[in-house]
């Protein structure tokens, strides 16, 4: 089974801090994704990556950046955390050769910015 591991289940940070959310997948997937999930808004795509060192903006990239130095790891960075970034963050991965492959999700990081 595919395993997508997010480094923290719960995280509390202060406004202005630089925050790193880490995600690792163990199935050699090319594609990796970061979403945030908010009640009533569903999942919104922040950034995604189809290969090492490449990234694409999703629907809501403002205030975030990403890093993909190795194929298995995709990091989400909040450059200067703000209270409106309090949310559930979900990482996902999928095979890259065909667009009909499902995404596999981690269990999420519930981030609170105080």
């Amino acid at each position: 089974d595919v395993k997508v591991t997010q480094s923290s289940r719960y995280l509390v940070k202060r406004t202005g801090e630089k925050v790193f959310l880490e995600c690792v997948q163990d199935m050699d997937h090319e594609n990796m994704f970061w979403y945030r999930q908010d009640p009533g808004l569903g999942l919104r795509l922040i950034y995604f990556s189809y290969d090492v060192k490449m990234k694409e903006k999703g629907d809501i990239p403002e205030g975030y950046s990403v890093s993909r130095e190795k194929k298995e790891r995709f990091s989400l960075i909040l450059e200067s955390a703000s209270t409106n970034q309090t949310s559930m963050y979900l990482c996902a991965s999928s095979l890259g050769d065909r667009d009909n492959q499902p995404q596999h999700f981690g269990d999420g990081t519930r981030l609170s910015i105080l």
């Binding site: 997508v4 289940r9 994704f33 979403y35 009533g40 808004l41 569903g42 999942l43 795509l45 995604f48 189809y50 999703g58 979900l90 996902a92 667009d99 009909n100 499902p102 995404q103 596999h104 999700f105 981690g106 269990d107 999420g108 519930r110």
Partner: protein
């Protein structure tokens, strides 16, 4: 532009009754369609997908979904609901004819199955 609509925020059914969770989509080309389920404090789990071929797709935990091209719908169904099916369900779409695009998710439908 791609979009997905789940018209019901919540669906309530009694255990043993059939359930339907609705999904409609909009893509410029042909769709790849997916259903996911999310239990509390967990990530999304893949249930089933439609790529091509038979319009009735069977997936995990006894769920199935019917693709209807004329109505641009992909409703999730189960003949007999279980209390353990209570969860948040997401429909997602990708345009088959636009390679490299990400999945678009609906806002989710909460399914509540009462005993």
């Amino acid at each position: 532009a791609q979009s997905v609509a789940q018209p019901e925020d919540q669906v309530n059914v009694a255990e043993g009754n059939p359930l339907t969770v609705k999904c409609t989509y909009s893509v410029s080309g042909n769709p790849y369609l997916f259903w996911y389920v999310q239990y509390p404090n967990r990530g999304l789990q893949f249930l089933l997908k439609y790529i091509t071929g038979d319009n009735l797709v069977k997936g995990s935990y006894g769920f199935e979904a019917e693709f209807n091209k004329s109505q641009t719908s992909f409703h999730l169904k189960k003949p007999s609901a279980l209390v353990s099916d209570s969860a948040l369900y997401f429909c997602a779409v990708r345009d088959k004819d636009q390679a490299g695009t990400a999945l678009i998710f609906g806002k989710g439908t909460t399914l509540s199955v009462s005993s």
